[in-house]
Amino acid sequence: MSSDHRVRNIFIQGAISSGFIGEKIADHAAKKNIGGHSIFLGQVRADLKEDKEVTGIEYTSYEEMALEKMHEIRQAIFAKYELTCMHVYHSLGLVSVGEISLFVFASSVHRAPAIEACREVVERIKKELPVWGKELLSDHSHVWKENRN
């Protein structure tokens, strides 16, 4: 069984480092049945809002609700796709422009389930997890992040 019933924590305080991502990839070397990984990395962009540049995003969440919802999404994804494993990490707190705030990592025997599951999980995270992003602007004011389709 590649899925389990534990509600896992997905939240990381601050940015997700490239070192952490590298370690997670390396952890899979021992899983000899995996033939493909699909990885999505969400990065904070220096958008212009009201003529001011975004310098970072401060993420907050209704954590308990988000973790229960993520567990539900995870169960549905494992039921739909033949995955070997899947890992999701999302930042809370401040993430500066250029840093990573979302890391989705799906693995399967052949590539297709990993690629399709990874995409679907990213879309569902954006639509269904109670997470908010305060975009901090260069003049120290802020606007609230809105997700596009």
């Binding site: 969400g42 993420y59 907050t60 969440s61 209704y62 308990e64 609700m65 988000a66 229960e68 999302h90 705030s101 979302l102 990213v122 995270i125 954006k126 639509k127 269904e128 997890l129 109670p130 997470v131 908010w132 992003g133 305060k134 609230w144 992040k145 809105e146 997700n147």
Partner: protein
């Protein structure tokens, strides 16, 4: 009648004008009554989009409250 004690949680842009993340309320019988009170306290709530969750489940209709219920006001999600 025994007192009904509930918590109300605010998130995202709503906290720009509530200035707190959480309040405790006594003796509100249902979610409509709570919302009516919150809109009086925080008039900007009338123009804000949000969904309501009761004990982490989204609700779409007026719901009776009992003690220890947690009502949360959730503006549009923006994760990722």
């Amino acid at each position: 009648m025994s007192s009904i004690k509930i918590s109300v949680l605010f998130f995202g842009q709503i906290t720009d004008y509530t200035l707190v993340n959480r309040i405790e309320l006594n003796d509100f019988k249902d979610t409509d009554t709570v919302l009516h009170y919150l809109k009086t306290m925080f008039p900007r709530l009338k123009e804000s989009p949000y969904q309501l969750a009761l004990d982490k489940e989204i609700i779409h209709e007026n719901t009776l409250l009992t003690s220890h219920h947690t009502v949360a006001l959730l503006p549009p999600y923006a994760g990722g």
